[in-house]
């Protein structure tokens, strides 16, 4: 008991020998300043985002009309629009989803459910981690060397863009999908095995449905990043195009008339199917000295932000429902 009162004396400052000074006021003041700084930092991002939205909507409002979606690029800014670029982005989005979902989810299933713990699976794992950290512009160089030069002898067509963006977003899709699969409780798998299901039946009918919201979140967030990418598309050598991209995988006219020699004529695979995407077209016009093109770029940014941010909101909504 006597010890306790000693301590009380010391901390209460009643003992004249003690030099202990709690400095409560200044410490609490610093605490408040610090808390204020933390709140400022947290809200700064939001403030910047709002400011950015305000600026682009203000700048681009005069061009935010239906013409934007119906006109092709032109030297005259008032007769220019994003039709070819928006169609390019939409088709790219569709085909990238078509490729990245099976590839990404299969890889995630393999690594989470099948891979044994050995050097080989560790190699794949390390490799995917490192791929996720490689700058997007390096994927552009990969696409340039492999697809544009290798497959299409120097022509930057829509397929090369789709393949490049698919490879770019595959690692993050795999990483986040794996987390979703890992979060499925082991008991669900054991119950499925218990009634005699095979491994694949267990995965197909129990693990995948349970992990689906998480996997969809991964796919949507990563694809929205891929659609907003400009750097790899610039490196591939895309340019301004004045026609709609061809996007059918087969020439159905030739298929139905039995003219099989022209089955791939004027399709996605054609070597004259040059393309542009929305962020690339914005980049072209940002760099133009005419102020009317800056307005056009702002209007394009509004469209791009609506596309990308709404994909992100869908993903957040899915993730919150999954939890």
């Amino acid at each position: 008991m006597s010890n306790g009162s000693d301590i009380l004396d010391t901390f209460g400052g009643q003992s004249s020998e003690s030099k202990f000074d709690p400095k409560l006021e200044s410490r609490q003041l610093w605490g408040k300043i610090f808390a204020g700084f933390c709140i400022f930092a947290t809200s700064l991002g939001l403030i910047v985002l709002m400011f950015l939205l305000y600026e682009v909507i203000k700048d681009g409002s005069s061009r935010l009309n239906w013409d934007l979606f119906q006109l092709y690029p032109s030297r005259r800014p008032l007769e220019s629009g994003y039709k070819a670029a928006i169609l390019g982005s939409v088709w790219m989005l569709a085909y990238v989803l078509l490729m990245v979902i099976p590839l990404g989810v299969s890889s995630a299933i393999y690594l989470e459910e099948y891979a044994k713990k050995n050097w080989f699976s560790e190699l794949i794992e390390l490799n995917i981690y490192n791929l996720a950290g490689i700058p997007s512009i390096i994927y552009g160089l990969l696409g340039l060397g492999l697809f544009v030069r290798g497959l299409y002898s120097g022509r930057a067509v829509l397929v090369t863009g789709i393949l490049t963006i698919t490879l770019l977003i595959l690692p993050p899709v795999i990483v986040i999908s794996r987390e979703a699969i890992r979060a499925v409780p082991q008991s669900i798998r054991q119950a499925s095995y218990g009634v005699g299901a095979t491994k694949w039946q267990t995965i197909r009918y129990h693990v995948l449905p349970a992990a689906l919201p998480g996997i969809l979140t991964a796919v949507i967030i990563s694809t929205s990043r891929g659609i907003g990418e400009t750097a790899p598309i610039v490196v591939l050598g895309a340019g301004t195009v004045l026609f709609d991209p061809k996007a059918t995988p087969l020439n159905f006219g030739a298929l139905f008339s039995g003219n099989f020699g022209e089955l791939f004529k004027d399709t996605l695979w054609s070597n004259d199917n040059f393309f542009s995407v929305l962020p690339y077209q914005i980049y072209e016009w940002v760099g133009d000295p005419k102020p009317e093109f800056q307005i056009l770029a702002s209007a394009g940014i509004v469209v791009l932000l609506v596309l990308v941010l709404s994909m992100n909101l869908i993903a957040i909504f899915l993730r919150n429902r999954a939890r």
Binding site: A35, L44, L46, E55, A231, P279, I282
Partner: protein
């Protein structure tokens, strides 16, 4: 398939189906393995494409000049990067200098703000508010970088020009500031996870000794989560080094050896974007220089990622 399993009369049939089932099962396993292998092939292809062009680049330009510059005929030392001009020079440092300067400015913005955000999310915000705020902050990483570039060039640079005399139209400063905002979510997100992993008992002990909330956050939680924070910062640097569109739009395309953030600079990524946009002939030295710079960038980011991974793995504090 399940019917026959339940049927005792079709024993032999059942066995066949089981064999089928096994074949199907292992076929699926191999198909999945193939998909996982695509990522390994991607890495091999990246290394092959970069290495083959880099090798032929060094057949035309000397590796000594690439790394150390050259001595001109008049005896002066020169280190400049201009493979696309008639009078070619191949010293890579001006582009590396541009990259490092913009990345440094970006990290000076992103590190304090990202950490403060992480502290707010893990120490101050209620779980409900945190659950709402986190995705909102991550939205910042979802904004396409061409948009940030446009914002830096047309909004931030004119504002800065009012305060800073001698600011170029394209400059490292505004590109770096906006890049910092872009990197905040990377640092905040990983650091928040690291801070939340610090056990509550450590905080309670500190409160028990009479610490204020700020002291708990900075003197207990921050040091305890240091490995995760370091990994986050290094990952942020790697993002900054590899970022292309912000610098290509707002920082300019003139690789110079300067430490003045008001000047126009040229980063490695901006150089790649600039030259790839103009049509350079395959086999020409400027085409191959593209890949040599790409290889340098690839090695720098790979190194940073490996260090980040090692730090978070090796120095991970485990609390029981």
């Amino acid at each position: 398939m399940s019917n026959s399993v339940n049927n005792p009369e079709s024993d032999s049939l059942d066995l066949y189906q089981r064999a089928d089932r096994n074949i199907k099962e292992s076929a699926i396993a191999y198909a999945l393995l193939f998909c996982a292998f695509v990522s390994v092939l991607t890495t091999l292809a990246i290394v092959y494409v970069l290495a083959s062009e880099t090798v032929s680049f060094f057949g035309k330009a000397s590796i000594g000049e690439f790394l150390f510059g050259k001595t001109l005929a008049n005896g002066n030392y020169s280190c400049s990067w201009a493979p696309q001009f008639a009078d070619k020079s191949f010293c890579v440092w001006p582009t590396v200098n541009g990259t490092m300067m913009v990345a440094l400015i970006a990290m000076l913005v992103a590190t304090p703000l990202g950490l403060a955000t992480a502290i707010y999310l893990s120490e101050y915000a209620s779980p409900r508010l945190g659950k709402f705020l986190r995705p909102v902050i991550e939205l910042l990483a979802g904004v396409p970088t061409v948009v940030y570039g446009y914002f830096a060039l047309t909004v931030i640079t004119p504002i800065l020009k009012k305060f800073i005399p001698g600011l170029d139209g394209f400059n490292a400063l505004s590109a770096g500031l906006i890049m910092g905002v872009m990197i905040i979510p990377t640092i905040a997100s990983i650091s928040t996870d690291a801070m939340r992993a610090v056990p509550v008992s450590l905080r309670e002990a500190a409160y028990g000794l009479g610490s204020t909330k700020k002291e708990v956050a900075t003197n207990v939680v921050l040091p305890a989560a240091l490995s995760g924070i370091c990994a986050a910062i290094i990952l942020g640097i790697s993002r900054a080094v590899g970022e292309t569109m912000i610098v290509a739009i707002a920082a300019g395309q003139r690789p110079v050896l300067t430490l003045d953030p008001r000047q126009t600079v040229g980063t490695m990524t901006a150089y790649i974007a600039q030259v790839a946009k103009g049509d350079s002939r395959v086999g020409s030295v400027e085409y191959e220089a593209l890949f040599a710079v790409g290889m340098t960038l690839f090695l720098i980011t790979l190194l940073l990622n490996i260090i980040s991974k090692q730090i978070s793995k090796r120095f991970q504090e485990t609390y029981e």
